[in-house]
Amino acid sequence: MEIEKGVMKRQLSLADNKKNALTKKFKTTGLINGVISGLTYGIYSTLVMVASGYDPLVSAAGFLAAPFVCSGLNDFIAGIWLLFYNAKKGRLKELGRTLKTKPGQMLVIGFLLGGPIANGAYLVGLAMAGAYAIPISATCSLFGALFAWMFLKQKPTKRVVLGMVLCVMGAIIINFVKPEGAPNFTLGIICALIAAICWGLEGVFSSFGGAMIDTDVAVNLRELISGLVVLILLVPAVGALKLLGGTIVAGTPLLWLAIAGLSAAISFVTWYKANATVGCAIGMSLNVTYAFWGVLFCVLFLGQTLTPTIVIGSVVIVLGAIIVTMNPLDLFRKGEVE
């Protein structure tokens, strides 16, 4: 009897150990994925600006043509990278299956807002306001919480409201002193805000059963659909077909966009993976650090001038975005939860 009890006890503690090791492994992977998603989104934001610095993009007429050519090519290439990734995992059939479901179709509506519209607006914002547009776009978690309140009746807590106020304050600080030589600065900031609003709305559409869909498949559909809609509908609509052809022929900008597309693809896959392993709150908070990285890379590699307003403003927005999505104190309470 005693021996049996002993064996049982050993079995139980072994099961505990294995389970804890697995949970820990998932948590660590989740956190690493979250950090990578922020870093790669910062890289993506910077590389798109690098690509836009080459002819014919740099001398393109009109303020919509170059950003739409960039976002269309970038998303489409990201979609192709993800097709390779999903093919390797043996998941290509899942793309068609997902499109046939209601949650899949709701996601697609969200993709149209978050892809062509938000991404296009983000790139117009980057083109007009430079690195200043990056932290502004990070207010999307504010809009996400706001829309969840309006449409899904999820009342925000005092903490969420505090985070929202911080986001708005950060945006105001960034906009306080306009940089020299950026005539359309305010318009650029408004475009970045439009991007944030549409990304917030995209989140609402993913709440209709989107949790049942494999995120690696969803991201693949998002990038492909967004890329194709921009290239087939929007690029001709803004009269940029010639610019698209020129960019492809020029080679160098296309190469930069291919690397940017890869960064975006990695960022989305790792972001969703983080959300699924350490929870949306921590996942989003780590992802939003792209605002730091993006500004840092622009200062380091693109000669963006660092002003006190952009530094303080980005810190306040990132802090606000983190407070909207999670209670920062939870980070220090790790041990108690387990």
Binding site: R91, R97, D214, V217, T277
Partner: protein, 93 residues
């Protein structure tokens, strides 16, 4: 046309009390068994993701004969609601 596999896992859990990677794979084998994605790692990922999204919860865990960890999950009310709302009736038994 089959359901996307993560949805199929949740749909299966709606009709079965306590489910682990092995049991759900056994049940879904006729539909997805010949696909490369049909492996234990990806199915464990389905459970973890569904858990992180608040649709299922870990019910219990134990070791099998070979001392491998078996994690048993069960669907919760939110998960059931999601299946009722979004999974086409023809897939439900």
């Amino acid at each position: 046309m089959s359901l996307p596999s993560r949805m199929a896992v949740l749909n299966y859990m709606n009709e079965h009390d306590s489910v682990n990677v092995k049991s759900v794979m056994e049940a879904l084998k006729p539909f997805y068994g010949n696909e490369k994605q049909f492996n234990e790692n990806l199915y464990l990922e389905h459970f973890m993701a569904l858990e992180a999204n608040g649709l299922v919860e870990l019910a219990s865990y134990n070791l099998d004969d070979k001392e491998n960890l078996i994690m048993n999950y069960r669907i919760n009310d939110d998960g059931r609601e999601a299946v009722e709302k979004y999974v086409d009736k023809k897939y439900r038994n």
